[in-house]
């Protein structure tokens, strides 16, 4: 690519903002005000750069683009290697899109240690974007683990009452998985002699090695995702995290697990992925049904949405492990869409939490009387979460289902039950919060969305609808990379006729009776 290292710029630009933040001087109010502005402008400029990135992306090229490859520690085969392909491009975009939204959403709700808060968010953005751009395992691991620190701080410092328990649970849970991931990386490094991701991807491991490596990677990604039964940290973390923390957590951090499966497990360890497919299907389907049922009975709004996230992530893993074009694209699309919708839902909770300071569903009711705009916004995202056609939630879910049905009709059928439950728990939540008589005293003076909040939600609504009605721009970017991933996966797999059939997308039709 041409001289300008756009990926490094996007990744590290927020650090410039951090430097400015550290230089801010003055009394507390001035520091807070300036910190907000600096953080906001930094994130907006970064987002603009990400738009440039999308604009100059070549959708016909399935490989990595905007590649930067500089030897770092050449004697160890470690290099500074960045690049994006169709799979990672929109994750970078999503991250840079959600960060300014988080900053605006925290404008008033965060009043203490504003500067540190903004630093944490900008550092987090650097690390997350780094994860999606890194093409070297050492870099990837540093970014991947590094984001635990700002998130740990965001929950632990600006969180709710039980924030310390949740922060530690979050940290240790993810760390345990990551240790195994580190061992896997070390092993691969010893085998291949480099930590370069494309090189390792091209390396063929023996079947047995693949299975052990796959399990190590699974430990890390399944916790991040989170997959059932490694999900229990998520509701706790969400409940205690400040609103913007939940937004980043649900919107982006969860996607790292799915991204890991797509980037590493599938192309590097195709035989093991094939071997573990029934296992993944089982966990996914259990996750969809189990967490949907649990979500039905939640009394805390954030917990409910957290559990629904686990169910939605179940659809993602389901789609990815079908090894079909629709399934993989559906899985990725579902992650992007969930990044928008769940982020918005957590923001919706944040709006009323800022006003009433409780997340208990029972503490609300009849909000539509005082907050009609809020009711509309909440409704849009409720429906998007339910997967109503013409919202982005539908596209990913449906494509994943197409893949699932191609792979295994049982899996698809059972997963569809989750879609019924999804409608039940979301609409019930909506009804209990928004509809009914407004009887509670403390709600009688509640105010509707202000302009800042409308500004936060407007782009999210626009995106959720746009991607639902015209998802082509995103899907087109995914096509080449997803197809490439499938060939990588299938060439290396001990190809069964069945798999070949799937690859060619030839419908399986048995002979005439």
């Amino acid at each position: 690519m041409s001289g300008w290292p756009i990926l490094s710029t996007i990744t590290f630009l927020p650090l410039l903002g951090v430097a400015f933040l550290l230089l801010v001087r003055g009394d507390a109010a001035t520091v807070a005000r300036n910190s907000r502005l600096v953080a906001l402008w930094t994130s907006i400029v970064t987002f603009a750069l990400a738009l440039v990135l999308i604009g100059s992306f070549d959708i016909s090229n399935p490989g990595y683009q905007f590649v930067e490859n500089v030897p770092w520690l050449p004697e160890f085969g470690i290099s500074y290697h960045l690049g994006v392909d169709g799979i990672s491009l929109f994750f970078v975009a999503l991250t840079t899109f959600l960060t300014p939204i988080c900053i605006i959403a925290s404008w008033e709700s965060i009043q203490n240690r504003v500067r540190e808060y903004m630093v944490a968010f900008l550092v987090m953005q650097v690390l997350v974007v780094g994860v999606f751009c890194a093409l070297d395992f050492v870099m990837f691991y540093i970014f991947f683990e590094g984001q635990l620190i700002p998130m740990f701080l965001i929950i632990g410092v600006w969180g709710g009452e039980r924030r310390v328990y949740s922060a530690f649970k979050f940290f240790l849970y993810t760390l345990v998985g990551s240790v195994l991931f580190l061992i896997a990386i070390l092993y691969m490094y010893l085998q291949v002699g480099t930590t370069d991701i494309p090189t390792i991807t091209a390396h063929e491991f023996t079947r047995e090695t693949q299975i052990w490596l796959w399990l190590a990677l699974f430990a890390s990604f399944a916790v991040k995702m989170p997959m059932w039964p490694f999900h229990t940290w998520l509701p706790d973390a969400h409940v205690e995290a400040p609103t913007a923390g939940s937004v980043i957590l649900a919107g982006i951090l969860l996607k790292m697990g799915g991204y890991g499966f797509i980037r590493f497990s599938l192309p590097m360890l195709p035989e093991a992925s094939d071997f573990f497919t029934p296992f993944m299907f089982t966990l996914s389907v259990v996750a969809i049904i189990y967490t949907s049922l649990v979500a039905l009975m939640q009394e805390d709004m954030k917990k409910l949405i957290a559990y629904s996230s686990v169910a939605h992530m179940g659809i993602v893993t389901l789609g990815i492990f079908t090894f079909t074009q629709q399934g993989i694209e559906g899985g990725i699309f579902q992650m992007l869409s969930h990044g928008i919708i769940s982020a918005a839902l957590f923001l919706c909770v944040g709006v009323v939490y800022d006003r009433v300071h409780t997340r208990q569903i029972a503490a609300y009711g009849g909000l539509v009387h005082r907050m009609p705009i809020y009711a509309v916004v909440f409704l849009v995202f409720t429906l998007a979460s339910v997967g109503l056609p013409s919202t982005s939630g539908f596209v990913g879910e449906f494509l994943a289902m197409v893949g699932a049905f191609t792979a295994n009709t049982w899996v698809a059928t059972t997963a569809m039950i989750g879609i019924i439950l999804g409608a039940a728990y979301m609409l019930w939540l909506y009804r209990r919060v928004i509809f009914g008589e407004l009887t509670k005293e403390n709600l009688k003076s509640i105010t509707d969305l202000n302009w800042r909040e409308i500004g936060v939600f407007a782009p999210l609504i626009a995106l959720a609808l746009f991607l639902g009605i015209y998802p082509k721009p995103v899907l087109d970017v995914l096509h080449a990379s997803a197809a490439h991933l499938m060939t990588q996966t299938q060439l290396a797999r001990v190809v069964s006729p069945e798999a070949l059939e799937l690859a060619g997308q030839v419908p399986k039709i048995a002979a005439t009776r």
Partner: protein
């Protein structure tokens, strides 16, 4: 053809204007905007109907790609053929009349812009549904009307019952969509496409082919059709998935007329007719359709007999009439099914709006036990209700007569076991229909006034914005039969190639040759039903209570709607809640956290405590430990180094 696109999108534009700028435009202007948009849409639809059915101008308009991935392709496209034309006509005309009526009916409501926005939004989704050119867009419209129905049932959001009914409608429909969704997937997997033309063209090749579904190799066409029909059962409130429709009466009455009688609930029938080129090759699926249709026809009629809420009676009647339409499709008389759909749209909308007029007159009273003796006070509504009921009961010269007879004759002429089943149940249901219809008329309008003095003083005829649409619908309830009959019968080609009937399935053709008693029986049953109603509720009003007492279990069974709500609560709602709660508390809280994070943390703490105890602080403990250590090391070295 731009007309179709305009007809589809005008309601959406109206909805958007009224919904987004309702407060700016105000209570008067916002509804007017939607009415005007709807009027234009109806005009264009009628023009389309004429162009399509009389001049054969069928075609497609493709807007842009929707979802594309690999070989899966779906686009936003509009198809207009004869079937679509008829549906567009019915939907927009009824919708327009309901819009106009609502200006009067909702006059005192503070949320008029919202109401009209929802109504128009509904119409848009319904139009998207009927003009869809692929299964996914059909699904879009399908879910969209479900959403509009949800919003309108819960329109009076202060009422807990309305909110519960709204959720119930959405979730029960989702149960149907479970089948519909799987049906789409099955068709894509086996046909390789979800575009109508491709699927229809390929259906004959698929006969006898199987694919692996759940338990084993199953016939492609049968499975796909049955799965699609499950979706239709949900939307059209057929037996087992009907429970949401009566509760949906919580919505304002114009909504019941438009959505829960004339249009949305008939989407299932439309879907089966639309997929006639596939269903025709799936005899088992057609049998399933016939069975459920016929069962619903009689089942809902038995419940309607004992309900006291005027709207619920009509709701169960709708359920029952939808059953007729389905079994018509089941015996391959799709044309008869759509014919009945059309006539039913007029007379049932008339009945609902008429009921609305009564409710309006009675100061929002819906219980027929607190009505009576008002026919002289609201004679116009009374007359119009008569017309609606005559059409519903299928008395000669009214539209229902033609369509219902055509259905019953076709069922008879099908000469299959299930055809017979449908025919006889349909005949009995025809008698019951007349019985509950005149029970409704008599209880509502005749006898001594049972309302309180205050209410009776206020009884008044509705304003013209409400009565004019009623009169137009009444006109439709009379003439639609005469107009359509010649176009549907033996030589009529109203539906052109949009509906496929195989040669050996032609029950509709054979229906003309059915014996006289078959043609006369439905009418006789209707007359009998009216006579029975007159005897029971007019001549001997003391009898019904006595009968109810004599066959109390049966009465309660009907009155409690065959206990379906209780059954489903017991089977699904309760267990789901119980499971959710115990998975949460015991699964997540007890098992996963107990063994996982909290368990490990606990274990680490326990081990640490023991390690702590080793640090006693006594010098001699440490000295002793050191001594043991030295001894061990020395021993190890000695043994290790010795050869």
């Amino acid at each position: 053809m731009g007309l179709v696109v305009a007809a589809v999108f005008l309601p959406l534009i109206g909805a958007a204007i009224a919904g987004l700028f309702g407060r700016v435009l105000g209570q008067r202007v916002a509804p007017l905007v939607t009415v005007v948009a709807m009027g234009l849409s109806a005009t264009f639809s009628v023009l389309t109907f004429v162009a399509v059915t009389l001049y054969g101008n069928t075609g497609k308009v493709e807007l842009f790609d929707w979802i594309g991935s690999g070989t899966f392709q779906a686009s936003w496209a509009f198809r207009f053929d004869e079937l679509t034309g008829v549906m567009m006509f019915v939907v927009t005309v009824v919708s327009f009349l309901v819009h106009v009526y609502s200006i009067g009916y909702m006059a005192h409501d503070a949320h008029k812009p919202r109401f009209f926005a929802y109504l128009s939004l509904f119409t848009f989704f319904m139009m998207a549904l009927i003009t869809a050119d692929n299964l996914l867009q059909l699904y879009f419209g399908w879910e969209g009307v479900g959403l509009a129905s949800y919003l309108l049932i819960g329109f009076w959001y202060k009422r807990p019952s309305a909110n519960a009914a709204a959720i119930k409608a959405f979730v029960v429909n989702r149960v149907g969509d479970f089948g519909f969704g799987l049906g789409i997937l099955a068709i894509y997997l086996t046909f390789g496409s979800i575009e109508y033309d491709v699927v229809f063209a390929k259906a004959p090749e698929m006969v006898g082919k199987t694919f692996y579904f759940l338990f084993g190799e199953i016939d492609i066409l049968e499975v796909s059709c049955i799965l699609l029909f499950i979706g239709a059962m949900g939307k059209s409130a057929q037996f087992l998935l009907h429970t949401w429709l009566p509760d949906a009466m919580e919505g304002p009455t114009p909504v019941s007329a438009l959505i829960h009688a004339a249009t949305m609930v008939t989407a299932g029938v439309f879907m089966v007719a639309r997929f006639s080129p596939v269903f025709e090759y799936a005899p088992t699926a057609l049998s399933v359709v016939t069975f459920f249709g016929a069962t619903t026809a009689i089942f809902a009629a038995t419940i309607a007999l004992t309900q006291n809420d005027i709207k619920r009676v009509i709701a169960y009647s709708t359920c029952s009439q939808l059953g007729y339409m389905f079994f018509a499709c089941g015996v391959s008389a799709y044309q008869a099914g759509i014919f009945h759909l059309t006539t039913h749209a007029f007379f049932k909308a008339l009945l609902f709006l008429g009921a609305g007029s009564v409710i309006h007159a009675m100061s929002d009273e819906q219980d027929m036990r607190r009505m009576g003796g008002i026919w002289k006070l609201i004679p116009l509504t009374y007359a119009l209700m008569w017309i609606g009921n005559l059409a519903l009961a299928g008395l000669p010269f009214f539209s229902g007569f033609f369509s219902k007879d055509m259905i019953l004759e076709s069922a008879f002429a099908a000469h299959t076991g299930l055809g017979e089943y449908a025919f006889w149940l349909g005949i009995i249901a025809a008698g019951l229909t007349a019985l509950y219809s005149w029970r409704l008329l008599i209880m509502t309008f005749h006898g001594k006034p049972r309302a309180d003095h205050h209410t009776m003083e206020h009884v008044h005829e509705s304003p013209w914005v409400m009565t004019v649409p009623l009169m137009l619908l009444a006109a439709g309830a009379i003439v639609s039969g005469y107009l359509l009959l010649p176009m549907i019968g033996e030589h009529g080609g109203l539906f052109g190639n949009s509906i496929l009937v195989l040669e050996h399935n032609n029950a509709l053709e054979a229906a003309h040759h059915s014996p006289f008693w078959v043609k006369a029986l439905p009418t006789m049953m209707a007359v009998l039903g009216i006579a029975a109603a007159y005897f029971l509720y007019m001549a001997r009003p003391d009898l019904p209570a006595k009968i109810a007492k004599a066959i109390r279990p049966l009465y309660l069974f009907s009155y409690n709607k065959w206990y379906f709500d209780e059954l489903y609560d017991f089977l699904f709602v309760g267990p789901a809640k119980y499971l959710g709660y115990s998975l949460w508390k015991r699964g997540d809280g007890g098992l996963i956290d107990g063994i996982g994070p909290d368990g490990i943390a606990g274990a680490a703490k326990a081990i640490a405590l023991r390690a702590v105890r080793l640090q006693t602080g006594y010098l001699y403990h440490y000295a002793f430990a050191m001594l043991v250590g030295v001894a061990l090391i020395v021993t190890w070295f000695l043994f290790a180094s010795s050869p």
